[in-house]
Symmetry: C2
Subunit: 528 residues, 2 copies
């Protein structure tokens, strides 16, 4: 597959002109071919108009057909996995095994969300049948369910070139929910984006879906993304990236005449509380597990453990010594982009100068985009006073916070901002006594992990990848991973006293799709 460097406006190619940019190989430290061309304002307008024109057809598209489309994209990803992963490696510096695994995760997500659409239980269909004889007033027939929003804009992430980019979780869940999608490609891996985008364009054609079902826009700067969020025909936005970038889009959307939801997954420090019993029972295993979790793919995960909280003791000090020794010996890796690497260097340099903060591990990095672990320690008293120490440093850097006692650990938990995850490492005998800590952390994070590590995410019906601000923009009401992700792209519609043939199939008396529905208080697949 030859790269063209052009957007997809529906099935049409964008035209050259406007600002250009190139991908960059962070491992080799060199620009890549070809030149990519920013989409023009007219092309953006055309993509949005086509998406809006496709929205009614998408809203009526049966779940089974959405499933067919998503499976087709998944099959195409799998068939092209080798080419895709190779391109991903070149543009992101991530290892081949990671990119190969991520393609598989992406096709798995597409299939899971497709099945969810086909099954249709996520629609929360509810029926209250009429009681025409009720006094003083007859009870009308009410049938309600979730219906798609319309055109969704998805911003590809820098750190997941597949699973959170062009055909990633936001795109897959929006399609599954019945929304046309316009993706703003992340400029750090445009070639990967183009390859994946072409597969989706092909799938749109093969399924006979309207052209406006999908567009992929490139941009050298921020203007196009901002214009997408402000466009009156765009109804919702998905974003994975930095707090600064996400908040800017959230603010733009909130300032619209018609505000729209922006589901932004942003910064997260993912605190890890390590209790005495855990160290007594398995210090060496935790050194290995935490080291792996904190350094995997150069620490470039939204679930990277950025804060380690423990109580000072000889055993804890020995644990941290063993961990920092391992960190200091960790080989450097290429970061995703030169910009991310620059921020990592500058953020760690700033933190090193904070009063009462000490560098405890600093591994060497010598290549252009390379980074290696830089860890810090401080006392809880200082952490509680210095708000900047709660900020995420994206990359292989964490802050160890030393507490005097259990009460101070609880103070640290109370002080935390929102995170995607919070972890507790506890000994067999002490776990049961951590109710207060767990309850505090449940108010601060979307996923609580006992005796595990925050990286590694199961894509399932029960997973939650979302948390209080600033980890997400919607306070953790939704998840960007797992089947509940579909709910983000839909709103409630109720039909009162409708004749059966005018109802969507999902709400008809005979229940032709066999949905699980709440009928007069009972969950059932029976007719109503």
């Amino acid at each position: 597959m030859q790269l063209r460097g052009l957007s997809f406006i529906g099935s049409d190619s964008g035209t050259p002109g406007g600002a250009t940019f190139r991908a960059f190989d962070p491992t080799e430290g060199k620009d890549l071919e070809p030149v990519f061309h920013s989409a023009s304002t007219a092309e953006l307008e055309s993509a949005v108009q086509m998406a809006a024109a496709a929205a009614p057809r998408w809203a009526r598209l049966p779940g089974a057909e959405r499933n067919r489309f998503l499976r087709l994209i998944a099959d195409k990803l799998d068939q092209n996995a080798a080419v895709l992963a190779a391109m991903g490696v070149q543009e992101t510096g991530l290892p081949l095994a990671r990119c190969t695994g991520e393609v598989a995760r992406t096709s798995g997500q597409l299939r899971l969300y497709g099945e969810t659409a086909a099954r249709g239980d996520w629609l929360d269909a509810r029926i209250e049948t009429a009681l025409p004889e009720r006094k003083p007033l007859p009870k009308p027939d009410h049938r309600s369910m979730l219906r798609p929003f319309g055109p969704v804009v998805v911003f590809g992430s820098s750190n997941f070139p597949f699973a959170y980019s062009v055909a990633g979780g936001d795109t897959a869940s929006a399609f599954a929910a019945g929304c046309p999608v316009i993706v703003k490609a992340h400029p750090a891996h445009p070639g990967t984006g183009e390859l994946v985008g072409r597969l989706i364009v092909d799938a749109v054609k093969e399924c006979g879906l309207p052209e406006g079902s999908f567009s992929l826009l490139f941009d050298a700067g921020f203007e196009l993304g901002q214009a997408l969020v402000k466009h009156p025909l765009v109804k919702a936005v998905g974003f994975t990236g930095s707090l600064k970038g996400g908040r800017a889009l959230v603010d733009l959307a909130a300032a619209r005449t018609e505000p729209i939801p922006v589901y932004a997954e942003m910064g997260s420090i993912n605190p890890v509380f390590i209790l005495r019993g855990a160290l007594a029972e398995r210090a060496a295993a935790i050194v290995d597990g935490l080291h792996a979790s904190a350094t995997l793919n150069v620490g470039q995960f939204c679930t990277n453990p950025g804060l380690i909280v423990l109580q000072r003791s000889p055993a804890a000090e020995q644990f941290i010594r063993a961990l920092t020794a391992k960190l200091a010996a960790t080989p450097e890796g290429a970061m995703l982009t030169a910009g991310i690497r620059k921020n990592f260097v500058s953020n760690t340099a700033t933190r090193a100068k904070q009063l009462g903060v000490k560098v405890i591990a600093e591994a060497k990095a010598v290549t252009a985009c390379g980074a290696a672990p830089v860890w810090f320690e401080t006392d809880a008293a200082i952490f509680l006073k210095n708000g900047s120490l709660s900020e995420e440093i994206f990359g292989p850097s964490s802050l160890v916070v030393w507490c005097h006692d259990g009460a101070e650990m609880l103070d640290v938990a109370r002080h935390l901002e929102g995170s995607l995850t919070a972890t507790v490492q506890a000994g067999a005998a002490e776990a049961a006594g951590q109710g207060e800590l767990i309850e505090l952390l449940a108010a601060k994070a979307g996923r609580l992990i006992l005796n595990g590590y925050p990286t590694g995410l199961e894509v399932s019906a029960a997973i939650v990848h979302g948390g209080p601000y600033p980890s997400t923009s919607d306070g953790g009401r939704s998840t960007s991973v797992g089947t509940r992700a579909l709910n983000r792209w839909a709103r409630l519609v109720c039909y009162q006293n409708f004749s059966d043939e005018l109802l969507p199939a999902e709400l008809r008396k005979a229940n032709p799709l066999g949905l699980l529905r709440l009928v007069n208080g009972e969950i059932t697949r029976n007719p109503s």
Copy 2:
């Protein structure tokens, strides 16, 4: 029950001082006793701090205990219905039967939401059990559900002194979801608010709940409400009122360091499309039904039918003549407040001057707060060009839009902004052919009504009272009426690899609460 004119800061009385105001009897046109005292900044701070302190206890409070509390409030409302309704009549000018009925609806809501909390199925509990042997990686145990946000602020509405005020739907659903509530009382019916507030304070005591479970704040102006929305410990807001007032709060919440959700139910024009067949079959019945819906309680409903769309024909013109004759003979009624009446007079006067808009019914109103129907007509071509004609006029005023043909009716439907409801009146033979119109309206409203009227709202599991902007602030993702209203006050939390005794009871293996849970893809009440 003697009124004191003071806020409730938990179970404590607020203190006099600061700005004062009085209720006003719109029927008699006179100020009422006693003087009400605005809460001070210190009292607001104390109410919020107490609510935050109560939040962890509320988050752990079993659904059955939330139910007990809500039932107790409901019982107290019913026991005091006569006194409450009389006070409501005096402060709002609404008829006694309406106020009596509204108290009953309010206690009904409290009981329904309490039952919903006790049953617990709304929590969307989901479990994926571990597969320790899975390759390449073991699958962890994940258990997730909705958990309460924490302190919620509720703004009482002017037009529902009971059902959307101190113990109304927002308060009841927030309690049911497990959140402490601070109500900012509507200044138009403070005596009603105080009476209801005292019943809630008593119920808090009798149930042994923490003091911060509930506070009720009075304010002569807007500052206190704004300060509540900006307070860092407040986690969500419910509001029912005008677009201007709702949007101001939405914007304040969006500008916070940590943005929070504001569920604002605002303006709605509730279009009614009347097709030829409906007029041929039952013109006289629709004259009566539409007249009743549009004039009930002086048109002061959020579901008041504000836009009537029909195709010009002799039958349609005769229908409108019959309707306007009935409207012109409609006796005046007192509006809720002098301010609402002033806006009604000014908004109808402005609309009367719009190019191409004609007054077709204007009933006489002579008393100080009185209003009577003022209806307008215009052509679709003018409606489509003049955006101000899409704005709601709160009160007994509607706009008839004449279309040349069915295509122009679809154009009007396409042009509509979001509404809470949209209605289609169709004849027996023509309903089935209205798929395109229904589909267009499904994108514009939260509740679609066939051959009925928009006023009158069933409080149930299937109802939706929410719609695209500007009818609500969240694009219709949620409903402020019905059991789904609880979901607004909760976020998702997932527990990974937790030992059973550390899990909330809702997620434990034995399923001690007997919840409906999604366990490894199956909906079941069985253990996991």
